[in-house]
Amino acid sequence: MLRPISAFAAGVTYVLAYACLTLVVPPPSASLRPLIALPLMAVPAVAALALAIRAARSSHGGERTFWRLFSLACAAHLVSQASFLLQSLRVAHTSLLVVGAHLGYYGFVVLSLVALSVRPHRPRTSRVATTAAVEWIMAATGFYFLLFYFVMVPAGGRRAGLAIFTLQEALPAAAAIVLALNTREAPFRSVYRALAAGYGGALLLNAIGNWLGPRGGLFLIFNPRDAVWMLPFVGIAAAATCARGPFWAGITHAPGRGRGWLAASAIVLPPLLDLSARAIGWQPELAAQRSQATLVAVILMSLLLAWRLRAAPADAVTPAELADGPAARAARTAHLAFASGVAHELNNPLMAVAGWAEVVQVRGEAHPSVGRLVEAARAAADAVGRLQRVVQAGVVDPARAGADE
């Protein structure tokens, strides 16, 4: 069984070895750089993907969602790497590859953030956590759409892109560090620490590189700064080798009820926004680009909404709600209520009859028919009593109720 520290140490060793390789082996030609660097850089991500999938399979509840999201994040990163690789191989439809590379990269950042927001040390069922995660992803998609629509497209991309890039590097690292500092629960503390080390290390390296390193080599691949793209996966892989947390049982809270319309309105807003922008004639020369962003957002949002609907289908009656739990108690209550109701309703008139008849008898002027009336009232009261006992005892056979007397 791999221990987290060993896994982390192995990962860091690999990253260092890669850095040394880039320093020792002279840089080949510009076209060969990605072909060598990208497969080597993908190794930690593949390892992290495999370990995260294994962790997701062996965990329950919110933790399973947590690891599934990290698996998806690793997969998204690999998609982005593969797109870059194909791009460097000059395969056709380059624009599609650029879109794929960007979507993969942003997908990795968003999924990492959402995974951290699941916070598996809290008691949540898998369904609740998944629904919440999908909603977070939808929110992030909406945020990116707005960012593209209002900032990136009008500003032309490059400058605004750098700021956004730095911000989205910092956010998962900050989230992991905050969780590592605040969490005391046993396995999760290690998980968050490993993640904080991975993401934090990458952030630190990136900051140093950006501030101290040579400006020109910013986007040249196959150099020691490529560690930035590998360290987060070292963290994820180390975290995935930690022990699994407790399994939260007995949480019946239904997920996301009432937020359905909010999630559904996510697919309505982008096209309405674009139509409004066109209607008021805002920057008509950029309208086509913005419409493309809108359509991409609609497709993504509809896929996410479909996922959310599958994760939390509309209200359905759970068998537990229809279970016949308190039926015996209710039946008993009904029997008692019936017995006392019969007694109450019938004994009142019977007592009145018997009482008046007895008063007449006591006065000494009794006719024999009055005596018969008293007898009849007593017989009736007996019959009521029998019914009452039978019902209270809950038996059908009157002989048994009589035997109890």
Binding site: I267, V268, D324, L346, V353, R372, R386, V391
Partner: protein, 1114 residues
């Protein structure tokens, strides 16, 4: 499973084989005429299958298949002619036309073949199972949006700029295919019957593919694609689908429509389709323009559709969840109560015997029980009643004979009899007419309904109970919804338990709902208490007798005829060779359709009465105002539309106004309080506001200058807005109207007004482009009018359901709310003027100012008159009659003492009467003593009556007013006296009027009055050796009459002196106190007739009962 048992698979396989053969022949270089002749095969096969279906299908469905066969035969003949022409070296594919007559005939066949399909769809032969689910409607809207996108992308937008004649032909094919695809696909989603689902699905898909491929094959109306192109599938696949529609049905499970899938399709579908077209069309040499605006718009529409669908689905699933919970609770309760019933069954007989013995002994011992005798017997009787109630509640008695029960009728009868009991309740029946019969015991079902009505009356005295009915193929659901305080959640599970009551002791046993439970279960149904926001809702479900597959749809042929006519008119417009002829043809049809619609609507109006007649009459005025000017223009009179656009706009405005007036009439509502004049004044004020807006925004600027095209565009926009407003108004009425018949009318009217508004806008756009008219855009005027005529004829054929409401709830709008609405309306007139003054020319501003002042004065006058009339109507109610218990001074001390003494005297007299009755009936006593006892009893009874009359006449005594039915009181009087009178040789005959209004008086006092009258008559008849007392009730304007006519068997020499009868004198006083009159006369046919005249007084505004009382309601 063999292929034979799956005919659809066979059809698909045959279609695939044919397609392969077709393309193989083309690849092998077969001549064009041969491959085109081959294309007759799929359509011909489909034709044969459709003809076979038409021959073997009975009823209305046969017409469906006949029409589709006709359509297919058009296409087959057209294709055959096409290949013959090619064989004879003609070139029918030349879009510019070869020999003159030949393309025209082909056009008629190829364009017209869709017309019979549309007519067939309008027949709607599928069985109907109630209203479609809301989710299905949302899905249908989504499907329609998707189909609309496909046709816009592949047919209508690419046709822009195509050459004229070919353009109109292909445009019309696209239009007809689009309408067919929309109608059939929408039906596919909401029709429940699996067979018709398949048929509609196949037709919808066939129309979609035919429309799309036809457009591509025509090279977007520019040049036909060569043989062997992909678009040739358009002549094969649709006909394979049509053939599949006609093969005998096999069991097809209902598809599940997953929300996730729909969201993905709606979100990514349009973009994906657009991407595919972007790859395919340029490859076939056809132009492809990216249309991001269209894509974003379609995405927005689809996203909105998805949102609506999800919300509806969430609501439906919540309702289902609640229903399932209620069912689970019901099933638990059934087990519980059945156990109780089984436990009690063995002992109840014992209990019944004991109670019978007790009652017998109590009666026997009564003479020896002194002053308690009467109460002892009463208590013994009560005990026996309780046991009987238990037997009834548990349905332990032998079940009665079962028969087919008309639940609607039974419900109405029960409601009427409940009114006779006098509960203060407004009951409203919704959709209870034309319900399927239920197999059951009418007596038991009536008892169940009565218990539920009583329950509501006790929960919400003076409140409202709405009984609504819903039915599907399996069961009928009746919902009893009251507006009381509702049932607390902790009490809810126990309301059906026996002896469970929250009412005070002695006011109810708590067995009524138990009985309802057992009656429902006995009939194979259930009753549940449904959770509700306010009030209580009891849902009673009963299985319907015949599990029919569905109800027939209303007469469908008018719509079918209208659709066929519209298609023929459209076809003629599309292919008419000369422009002048086209214009004349179009104008003639505009007149015919408008005047036809007006005539049909007017003939509906003639058959109706009262406000319903006015409603239909105003509806008829709309098309009449529209059609007359065109008719005058056709007849050679100066064309009103051409000469003066202001006059034209005024006519159009008047047409819209007449429809607004029709919607204002609200024939679905009961006559509002305050009489017709008051409501007409209110309606006139609303119409004045509408006229103001119309003149202000449209007519004045048009009359006083401004460039004409701009003004026309603005007028078009205004017409569209007005049309949309009328449509929304009709939609609001459709949503808010409870009665099924009027819902149907308003629903259809919504669709028609929407079609009218849309059509008018299209026609207006057409006139902007081509002022002479005569284009396909003219259909925007013709089609809505034809549909309107079809609607009117259908309405005529339907039964009249105007009286859907049994007892209507009076319109209760708080006066302050009405006043504030009017204040806002008047303020909006001023604000409109303030906002619009800037930017307009001085003449327009001045004219608008005059108009505003005139409107304000007119509205002010109308409202003031209305208020004055309302006030007068209120004063006109006699103050004495307004509240029987409100006036009068407090009784003096002496009067109170006298009152107490009279009460005491009444008690003593009752005692004497009871004692003497016992003595009289004791067989052990000597005969003489018993006779004396009988006389004493008679005297005591007479004295007792006088005393009771006195009590009724005492001020402040027993004068609490309540709602009651006079018929019920008469019935009680007859029940009380008939046995006694019959033994004395006097028979009672009663004739009760069915339409008596409910009274608001002291029921005890009136009962006593009637008893006095009957007793007085009986005294007379006893002396005359018997006779007949006839009691007749009747309504007389604001009064209700009761005539008590005594007819002696032997004529009496000396007439009665009514003024000498003390009882009657007292009764006369009592009646006078209640604002009525008591009079007597010698009847011409002999005997004396006493008439009691009682005023009908509206009950005061309902006061909400105190919280404690409300909680104790159940």
């Amino acid at each position: 499973m063999t292929l034979r048992s799956r005919p659809h698979v066979m059809v698909a396989a045959a279609g695939a084989a044919f397609t392969a053969a077709y393309y193989a022949l083309i690849a092998l270089g077969s001549p064009r005429s041969m491959t085109d002749a081959l294309l007759v095969v799929p359509a011909g096969a489909a034709l044969l299958l459709h003809v076979r279906r038409a021959l073997v299908t009975p009823g209305r469905s046969a017409w469906f298949w006949r029409l589709t066969s006709l359509g297919l035969s058009f296409w087959v003949v057209g294709e055959a002619l096409w290949s013959i022409a090619e064989f004879l070296d003609y070139n029918p594919s030349s879009l510019t036309g070869g020999p003159r007559a030949f393309p025209l005939a082909l056009d008629v066949l190829f364009v017209g073949f869709l017309a019979p399909f549309l007519g067939a769809m309008a027949l709607r032969p599928h069985p109907r199972h109630g209203r479609p689910e809301p989710v299905a409607l949302a899905d249908a809207a989504l499907i329609c949006a998707a189909i609309g996108f496909v046709f816009l992308r592949l047919v209508f937008l690419p046709f822009q700029g195509a050459p004229g004649p070919a353009y109109s032909r292909f445009f019309l094919v696209g239009l007809l295919a689009c309408v067919l695809a929309l109608v059939a696909s929408a039906q596919w989603r909401w029709v429940v019957d699996p067979e018709w689902r398949t048929i509609y699905g196949c037709i919808g898909l066939a129309a979609l593919l035919y429309g799309a491929f036809n457009s591509v094959a025509s090279g977007f109306a520019r040049a036909l694609q060569p043989a062997g192109s992909v678009s040739d599938l358009g002549w094969i696949v649709p006909f394979v689908l049509l053939a599949a529609a006609a093969v005998p049905p096999h069991h097809a499970p209902r598809p599940a429509f997953s929300s996730s899938l729909i969201v993905i399709l709606a979100g990514a579908g349009p973009v994906a389709l657009d991407g595919l077209l972007g790859l395919w069309l340029p490859a076939t040499g056809l132009p492809f323009e990216p249309r991001p605006l269209l894509l974003v718009s379609v995405s927005a529409v689809m996203a909105l559709g998805c949102l609506v669908r999800l919300l509806l689905e969430e609501r439906a699933s919540r309702a289902l969840r609640l229903e399932e919970r209620a069912r689970a609770e019901e099933s638990r309760r059934a087990g519980r109560l059945q156990a109780l019933a089984s436990l009690s069954a063995s002992l109840v007989e014992d209990l019944e015997r004991a109670m019978a013995a007790l009652l017998f002994q109590a009666r026997s011992a009564a003479p020896h029980l002194g002053d308690k005798a009467e109460r002892v017997v009463e208590q013994a009787h009560r005990a026996q009643e309780i046991v009987r109630g238990m037997v009834d509640a548990f349905r332990l008695a032998r079940p009665a004979h079962r028969q087919a029960v008309d639940v609607g009728l039974l419900l109405e009868e029960t409601v009427h009899s409940a009114f006779d009991e006098g509960p203060s309740l407004h009951v409203r029946l919704e959709g209870t007419r034309r319900l399927p019969p239920v197999w059951g015991d009418p007596g038991a079902l009536g008892a169940a309904f009565l218990h539920l009505i009583r329950n509501a009356a006790q929960a919400s005295p003076g409140g409202r109970l709405t009984i609504s009915a819903q039915n599907d193929t399996r069961e009928l659901t009746l919902r009893f919804v009251d507006d009381g305080p509702g049932v607390p959640s902790e009490v809810g599970p126990h309301v059906f338990d026996p002896f469970f009551t929250t009412r005070p002791v002695g006011e109810g046993l708590g067995l009524g709902l138990t009985q309802v439970h057992f009656i429902a279960r006995d009939h194979g149904g259930s009753v549940v208490l449904e959770p509700a926001a306010r009030g209580a809702t009891f849902a009673l479900r009963l299985p319907v007798r015949e599990r029919r597959t569905g109800q027939p749809v209303q007469p469908p042929w008018p719509l079918s005829v209208a659709v066929l006519t519209a298609t023929v008119v459209a076809l003629a417009i599309a292919i008419w060779p000369t422009a002048a002829g086209r214009v004349r043809w179009s104008e003639s049809w505009q007149v015919v359709s408008a005047l036809g619609a007006a005539a049909a609507l007017a003939s509906v109006a003639v058959r109706r009465v009262s406000r319903s007649r006015l409603f239909w009459g105003l509806l008829a005025l709309g098309p009449l105002l529209w059609g007359l000017p065109v008719l005058l223009g056709l007849a050679g009179f100066p064309d009103i539309w051409e000469r003066s656009h202001v006059a034209a706009e005024l006519m159009l405005g008047a047409a819209s106004l007449s429809w607004a007036g029709a919607l204002l009439v609200r024939p679905d509502r009961p006559r509002p309080r305050g009489g017709p004049l008051v409501s007409w004044l209110g309606a006139a004020a609303v119409l004045a506001l509408c006229v103001h807006g119309y003149l202000f925004a449209l007519v004045l600027p048009g009359a006083l200058g401004g460039p004409e095209p701009l003004w026309r565009a603005r007028a078009l926009l205004a017409q569209g807005v007005i049309g949309a407003g009328l449509t929304s108004w009709a939609l609001a009425l459709f949503i808010r109207t409870p009665g099924m018949a009027w819902r149907w009318t308003f629903g259809r009217l919504t669709l028609l007004l929407g079609a009218w508004a849309g059509g008018n806008t299209i026609a207006g756009l057409g006139y902007l482009a081509e002022p002479a008219g005569g284009g396909l855009a003219d259909l925007g005027v013709i089609v809505p009018h034809l549909l309107l005529a079809a609607f009117a004829v259908t309405q005529m054929l339907r039964e009249s359901h105007d009286k859907d409401l049994v007892e209507a709830v009076p319109r209760e709008v708080a006066e302050t709310r009405v006043a504030s609405r009017w204040w806002l309306a008047v303020a909006s007139v001023l604000v409109l003027e303030a906002l619009m003054t800037s930017g307009a020319s001085p003449e327009i501003t001045a004219a608008r100012s005059v108009l505003t002042h005139a409107t304000l004065v007119a509205i002010g006058l109308l409202l003031a008159t209305r208020e004055a009339l309302r006030a007068r109507e209120w004063v006109a109610t006699p103050p004495a009659a307004r509240r029987p218990d409100a006036d009068g001074e407090p009784p003096s001390r002496l009067l109170k003492l006298v009152g107490s003494a009279i009460y005491e005297l009444s008690g003593q007299l009752s005692g004497i009467s009871a004692l003497s009755r016992l003595l009289h009936s004791d067989p052990g006593l000597p005969v003489r003593v018993r006779e004396d006892a009988g006389r004493v009893q008679e005297r005591a009874d007479t004295a007792g009556r006088i005393v009771r009359n006195l009590i009724a006449a005492l001020p402040g005594a027993a004068t609490t007013a309540q709602r009651f039915s006079l018929n019920r009181v008469v019935q009680e009087v007859v029940d009380l006296r008939s046995g006694e009178l019959l033994s004395a040789g006097v028979s009672l005959r009663v004739r009760l009027a069915s339409d008596l209004p409910v009274l608001w008086l002291s029921v005890q006092a009136i009962r006593q009055v009637l008893l006095s009258c009957v007793d007085s008559a009986a005294l007379m008849l006893r002396a005359a050796d018997g006779g007949v007392i006839e009691i007749v009730t009747a309504a007389d304007g604001d009064h209700v009459l009761t005539r008590i006519h005594e007819r002696p068997a032997v004529p009496v020499a000396e007439p009665r002196r009514l003024d000498a009868d003390l009882g009657l004198s007292l009764a006369r006083e009592v009646v006078a106190q209640h604002g009525g009159a008591l009079s007597g006369r010698d009847a011409p046919e002999g005997g004396t007739e006493i008439t009691v005249r009682l005023p009908v007084i509206a009950p005061p505004e309902r006061e909400s009962p105190p919280a404690g009382l409300r909680a104790a309601g159940r």
